[in-house]
Symmetry: C2
């Protein structure tokens, strides 16, 4: 008896010579048809007929389950939806179109029971994202959320691949930091808990915070590396219950030395977006289909339009003109100098054909101290760019950095040192990874694209 | 004039047909010999001769620099060690053995000056790791630390590859958590800073901490996925200045469902170690050589022995016997039931031939509540395993998890729920990534293998 190596890898193996696109899970890889194998997983469906019981066993390696056929004698009242089983049997060609192989069970062992009355998910029911969100410790056992987790894993890998293939070095920027990059003020402070540290002295000798951006640390390294990036958790102590904000979220940030213009940045943002999206569509076919067909029907057309068209670039000035010419009534003002709000961003995206759009050259006063001054009096703009996307609004924000020591009014001594010793023109950007997943899957609430969401008044598990 | 695409990729291109193993950086990829190109980077050496100036320009893509040859007229007093330059010139075959190509400069532009008197690193000096550690914002500009960052990036990619290739799904376990996985007590607490939150109410409604391990969250997901892993930052509020501890460090953690025995875990640990190490040795040849030849001479033999030999497995009982038979005087006791200290771990590694060794089946009372009870009275051990490695001691710790509801005395309601609904035998482990880098590079101090070290009384930048 050879032990399961994964249903997904397994079925893929048998699909090579079949017209079907099915992929399943971990038991089968390399096993010959007719051989005796052991499969392990969770029961996703049970169907009893006169002589036989049909099970679908899933091991998380794909959405697809392996069909198990057992004679009624092997039936067991513990064989319920959600229970964990080990099945030994003979691998056979399936007579059904739906799957290339099935398992003719010789022995079924229920390793973990699952009482269907207590279990919050019911067989054959399609529970909504909002319902399953109530069970953070169990929701990965639903089809939708297990698909989400596989997509998230694959999208992460795709983003790393994009950067590696393009010569970027990954830098682990710190989570705990003594500086406040954005000056935004919405910081979490970090101190040891417990009585040993109640003397009021800081553990790090200085107040320490959770990072809001790895940018300053990337800038340090981009003084010796032309291309660097980081991809990790970032924090905001925002007291909001928005569908677009979390207290802990993942950000992709890149920094590129010797940049000539904002085009050097927008090219990387657009290429990365397209590469990651095409990769996910190609490698998570069934998982993405589940979202595009059942969770957010109709969204596939939006995604196809996003990857087929190149992203338009408009200046902030042009954006303001578009907004002011529009017949739409906005809640917030649209004068030159006003920040673009979500309502404006969504309008601009629609105006441009419901595809991602770059907005460049924002008023200098709207952007942080490190954005490069365009010195274009009287308006005075900064060489900054945001990428706005359908359904989400702002996905990326970037800028050329002010590399000129005399123009930089920051007070950080180290930041000034970086300009003192071999300073170069550079720029970078950040992308909100959860918003990216919302964008490609059409998921409305950011809490549904992260394994364990953290927001004000909620930190479950 | 085509613009640089990276000296490393470039020189690799020209090395294809040369016997040399040299790899350089970002300017050259695809450019024909004799064509006009632009190269951007930092000056790593300047040497003036009568008619010519020789520069080495590095862009961080590899240790190797591109040699630039310029007529003395192009010389400039600002062309100093550490300055940033843009060089335009003709790519030529180099007459020297050391490099396949060189750049015949037509124009040199100093983009960023670097005053060699103020700059803390001096040309041609080999600064020690301890010296450069004083300059966290500049040390990436040294050869040693830029090599370290490339190795770290490559090792990270190798570990992700290992897991992806073996069917593991990556799960982003949360940084902020309301539980204390290890019960160790050395926790950082997280609360918003600033006056808005001074009312004593918790932001998350419950006390929230920085994670000490993603294990419990991986266990949640391993109720639907046979193989999952996480790779990210982890935290300990340890008030120590040890060479092996940081307040913020990276951990690789994996969880495998349907495990039969500790062998299922040790196989993954050993395979991953070997895969990552062989990958780094093959892909970072010059960077690793710099460490093995100049920073930690002699360490290469240790590394070669580690990947050539399979890792021995001894029980805790055997380990205690070895320690008690030894003639060495230990500071800590070696009775059955005592925890293994660093001195013991290092002795055991030496005893086994200075290669990594697994120690299994520790006393039940030494291991956390989730370790599986071996029920082997009267000794009572737990199915737990540590991997001890040369120079570092404990690198990995893992265990089978107690999947039996009636034996599990934890108080976490969710943790019990996981056993209630389709519980399966499972197990997992964690590996300290910085210790792994120490181990393969022979670096004594953990602060030298992380871009921005955090420890008690220190949180620079």
């Amino acid at each position: 008896t050879s032990v399961s190596r994964g249903i997904a890898a397994g079925i893929r193996h048998y699909c090579k010579n079949t017209p079907t696109k099915l992929r399943v899970s971990q038991a089968l890889s390399g096993a010959e048809l007719g051989s005796n194998i052991k499969v392990q997983g969770w029961v996703r469906s049970v169907r009893a007929q006169k002589a036989n019981v049909f099970l679908h066993v899933n091991d998380g390696s794909s959405l697809q389950s392996l069909q198990v056929v057992a004679s009624s004698e092997l039936s067991d009242p513990l064989l319920t939806f959600g229970s964990a089983v080990e099945v030994t049997g003979i691998l056979k060609k399936s007579p059904h179109q739906k799957q290339p192989v099935e398992l003719d069970a010789k022995q079924i062992n229920v390793v973990g029971e699952c009482n269907p009355v207590d279990f919050p998910f019911k067989i054959k029911e399609r529970h909504g994202l909002e319902y399953i969100r109530q069970f953070p410790h169990l929701r990965c056992r639903t089809n939708a959320f297990s698909s989400l987790l596989r997509i998230r894993s694959e999208a992460t890998a795709a983003i790393h691949s994009y950067f590696k293939d393009n010569g970027f070095v990954e830098i682990n920027t710190p989570i705990i930091t003594s500086n406040d990059c954005e000056g935004a003020g919405e910081l979490f402070q970090v101190e040891p808990s417990g009585p040993d540290y109640a003397d009021g002295e800081n553990f790090f000798s200085v107040p320490a915070y959770l990072t809001v951006s790895g940018q300053l640390h990337l800038e340090v390294v981009s003084g010796a590396f032309s291309k660097v990036y980081t991809f990790g958790p970032t924090f905001r102590a925002e007291n909001s219950q928005s569908r677009r904000h979390l207290a802990e979220f993942y950000m992709v940030e890149a920094e590129i030395s010797f940049t000539q213009s904002l085009e050097d940045l927008t090219k990387v943002m657009e290429d990365m977006f397209r590469f990651a999206t095409e990769h996910v569509l190609a490698h998570c076919v069934e998982d993405v289909d589940l979202f595009h067909k059942h969770v957010t029907p109709g969204h596939r057309d939006t995604v196809d339009a996003m990857i087929k068209n190149s992203f338009p670039v408009i200046t902030y000035r042009e954006a303001i003109d578009i907004l002011r010419r529009s017949s739409e009534r906005f809640a917030f003002p649209t004068d030159w100098g006003c920040d673009l709000k979500t309502e404006h961003e969504k309008y601009l995206v629609k105006h441009c054909g419901n595809i991602p759009v770059f907005v460049t050259d924002y008023p200098y006063d709207l952007k942080p101290f490190y954005a490069r001054d365009n010195q274009d009096h009287p308006e005075r703009t900064a060489a900054a760019v945001d990428l706005l996307v359908p359904g989400v609004g702002e996905l990326c924000g970037g800028s050329l950095r002010e590399e000129r020591l005399n123009l930089l009014s920051a007070r950080l001594e180290e930041y000034l040192d970086l300009r003192r010793f071999g300073s170069v023109p550079h720029g970078g950007f950040g992308l909100g990874f959860e918003r990216y997943l919302q964008c490609i899957l059409g998921v409305d609430n950011i809490k549904d694209v992260v394994p364990f969401p953290r927001f004000s008044h909620s930190c479950l598990l």
